[in-house]
């Protein structure tokens, strides 16, 4: 771990030098950047960050704490990539810069300890279970909804309302072998579903099995690695990519399905990229990518599921998760599923694919910004008058529930598959 110093070789950021060079500084990204809309400051927006990457490459900017902070201030929502006339892969540049920061400066000790735990599924599980038992001591229930607030105000964290960790993590007993069963699906739950929203996992199993699919889950509920890569721990993220491929090796399934688009995009986009240079893994990562799906797109595009059994009388508004809408191009399928529920009326919010500001741990590291971005989303949701908010990402769900609570609003936020499962049971939410 070196201190702030000259750029030296900088191999990681050098790898995106060509991508950096195609930005012609037109500034179109300002129109869509959720961070810039709050800060009105150039370092917040893609053009600024790409120019900072260029300055690191040219040696005009040191890889120091300030530089690290600048690259950390991004939700990686990809809206700038969509708006960019030149097609600059901004998120790749931001991630490379974050990784370069870690390479040059090392991980801060807190992250080293946390990520060390995340990389070991057993430790992650034990920690989450212990935390679930102990959380009553640290959090008090928020009055308005099933959320909790910190008992001991710690800076801005005191303002946030988090869902409690699940008393029972999501598990799936495994496939009930059905005679002549159709395809077999590996449901990848991911950390959020396993430890915070097991109901999303249960609902996923329910709708998949109802569609005649056999559902299996991975041996270990290990992290997909995105939180590590987002903090520049490329080595740790790659380690988790290998771990995932290893634990799935030998399992038989037709498709990998996840209810968390960040996990899904790991299998579809990240692993093939992270493991491209590793002969033992590259081909496997490619093959797995080709049969990995977000659950809503699998239900609609592959299984062609029909409408659910029971009615569910509700007006629903749908928030597009960034990593699903822009990362995986899935916007139509969840809407089709929601609209197929008898009794459901879809009411679109303004800018449904605008980032909610959650962005994983960004909501913790940049609380003020995250809440400000989320407040706009909350206002757009409230303006629809919809009774229920649906989204297709557990991270978005957590952020939306929080920002609505901050706005004094108590309408429920659910995952698309939870509404489907509820309708199947013929029970209202």
């Amino acid at each position: 771990m070196s201190a702030d110093g000259p750029p030296g070789d900088l191999p990681t950021i050098r790898a995106v030098a060509d991508a950096v060079a195609i930005c012609n500084r037109c500034g179109s990204c300002q129109a869509v950047c959720p961070v810039y809309a709050e800060t009105h400051a150039e370092p917040g927006v893609a053009r600024g960050k790409v120019q900072l990457a260029a300055a690191v490459l040219s040696g005009d900017l040191l890889v120091d704490r300030d530089t690290a902070a600048a690259f950390a201030t991004c939700t990686t929502c990809m809206a700038c990539e969509e708006a960019c006339p030149s097609g600059v892969p901004v998120v790749d540049i931001v991630n490379a810069a974050r990784a370069q920061v870690v390479e040059a400066r090392g991980l801060p000790w807190v992250k080293r300890v946390v990520f060390g735990g995340v990389k070991r599924p057993g430790m992650l599980r034990a920690a989450a279970e212990a935390a679930a038992r102990l959380q009553g001591a640290a959090f008090k229930p928020a009055p308005d909804r099933e959320l909790r607030r910190l008992r001991f105000p710690y800076g801005l964290a005191a303002r946030r309302a988090y869902p409690p960790l699940a008393a029972r993590p999501f598990t799936h007993p495994g496939a009930q072998k059905k005679a002549g069963a159709g395809s077999r699906v590996l449901l990848f739950p991911g950390c959020m579903v396993t430890y915070v929203y097991p109901g999303i996992g249960d609902a996923s199993v329910e709708v998949l099995e109802r569609a005649g699919v056999e559902v299996v889950t991975p041996p270990e509920a290990a992290c997909c690695g995105v939180p590590l890569e987002a903090h520049g721990d490329l080595a740790g993220a790659t380690e988790l990519a290998r771990l995932q491929l290893d634990q799935l090796e030998g399992m038989e399934f037709d498709a990998l399905v996840a209810a968390c688009p960040t996990c899904t995009s790991s299998f579809v986009h990240r692993y093939p990229r992270l493991l491209a240079g590793e002969p033992r893994y590259a081909a496997r990562a490619q093959a797995l990518a080709a049969r990995s799906y977000d659950i809503t797109s699998y239900l609609v595009d592959v299984l062609h599921v029909g409408p659910p059994a029971g009615p569910l009388e509700a007006t629903v508004t749908y928030h597009d998760p960034c990593h699903l809408a822009r990362g995986l191009g899935v916007t139509r399928q969840p809407r089709e599923l929601l609209a197929s529920i008898p009794g459901v009326t879809l009411s679109e919010m303004r800018e449904p694919s605008r980032c909610c500001g959650g962005a994983g741990s960004f909501s913790l590291t940049h609380q003020e910004l995250s809440l400000a971005i989320g407040a706009r989303k909350a206002a757009d949701i409230v303006a629809t008058g919809a009774e229920v908010v649906a989204t297709s990402c557990p991270g978005c769900r957590m952020q939306l529930a929080d920002v609505l609570a901050q706005a004094g609003d108590s309408r429920p936020v659910v995952h698309t598959v939870e509404l489907l499962a509820a309708a199947n049971k013929g029970a209202a939410r």
């Binding site: 060079a21 012609n24 500084r25 400051a41 150039e42 370092p43 900072l52 900017l61 030149s86 097609g87």
Partner: protein, 458 residues
Amino acid sequence: MSNDLIRALQGALRKKQVLTRASDLLCYAYDATAGEAGRVPDVVVLPASTDEVERVVCIARDRGVPVYPRGAGTSLSGGAIPARGGIVLSTAGMDAVLELDVENQCAIVQPGVIIQRLDDMAAEHGLMYPPDPGSVAVATMGGSIAECAGGLRGLKYGVTKHYVTGLEVVLADGQVVRLGGKTTKNVTGYDLVGLFVGSEGTLGVITEATVRLVPAPEARATMTAVFATTGEATRAVAAIVAGKVVPATLEFIDATTLRLIEEYSHAGLPADAAALLLIEVDGSPEAVAREADFVERVCREHHGRVERAADDEARERLWAARRAAYPAYARHSRGTIVEDATVPRSRVPEMLAAIEDIARSHGLTIATVGHAGDGNLHPTVLVDPDDAALMEHAHTAIAEIFRAALDLGGTLSGEHGIGSAKAPYLGWALGEGGLDLTRRIKAALDPQGILNPGKFTE
């Protein structure tokens, strides 16, 4: 000096409004101009009110430190680049629409309001704010007024200067002046509002503007016409204008651009196309029907293959080709130098021929789109910023384009301004007398030369 300056600014503003970190300053060393090397400012301030702008300017005045007013930094002539250090003053955060006066059809805005947002708000009342530069979705009112931005609707609706009726400006000595107002007619003294529109931040910092809105047209019709020769396309433009029809949009796209667009988007444009016109007429339904029929007939008489949009979806498809031009350039070349030499409408064919000759003689790719109706062309030199020999050819070619435009009775810039990029050529257009007058005005308002130095007034 620098430390004293920063302390003074920190005393006058909140901590978060004064940026001093290297990583922050680097983000204000550029605008959208290709090949204009920036210089990192000493400090960036983000004032939130006229009062705060005034305080910043007074601090700069007392120390003789440069102040560079900045909006969204989308200027294309180097106008927002801090040429020699000092304070970048961003008004992007002053973004309130203070009043939308439907009865008087005008709006009062702070400088950070995005142009598109004002137009959207006006649309809710059946009104519009016509100036629509390519950067309309991000550019600010303050920046576009300081640069007197134009846009695609210029032929029929004019440019920014035709809409600004009032301004609040912080002068170089820190004095705040309020000029003009809501009235369309106003001959009370000099046209001081006009003095600041297009002044590129060299005479004062705009902190508030009153702008005219106009009724949004009830109907519009959109069509494209593809021509096998440039001559047929430009003769069609002349015939449309001679017919006393004034389209809201009359855009010309040349063969090079069409080829690049096709490579980029595979839109299915004819391979043999030498030119495309995108034409939109707007107004009352009756007038639109009559004018669209006339335009269509003229294009067909000039052997244009016409496609007329039946609905909004088709309209979007026709516009897509024009919108794809810039992305197509950007994906073809790492560097794109967009110029905006402008000639009287009747000289457009000669100007297009001159651009082609200049490109050929320097072995350069110059792609041209333009607002053919108002003679404002955008020859864009496609370059590699790292290829020094090519860049030298590009700059020589650009000088020759300016010369050609002036020789045809035109001007250096239709809508991008002079900034630093075109400053060396200003004398060609203004002559000694014009240059001298410019400098006398600058000296009278900013004797210390602290406002946006390094630009065309020096």
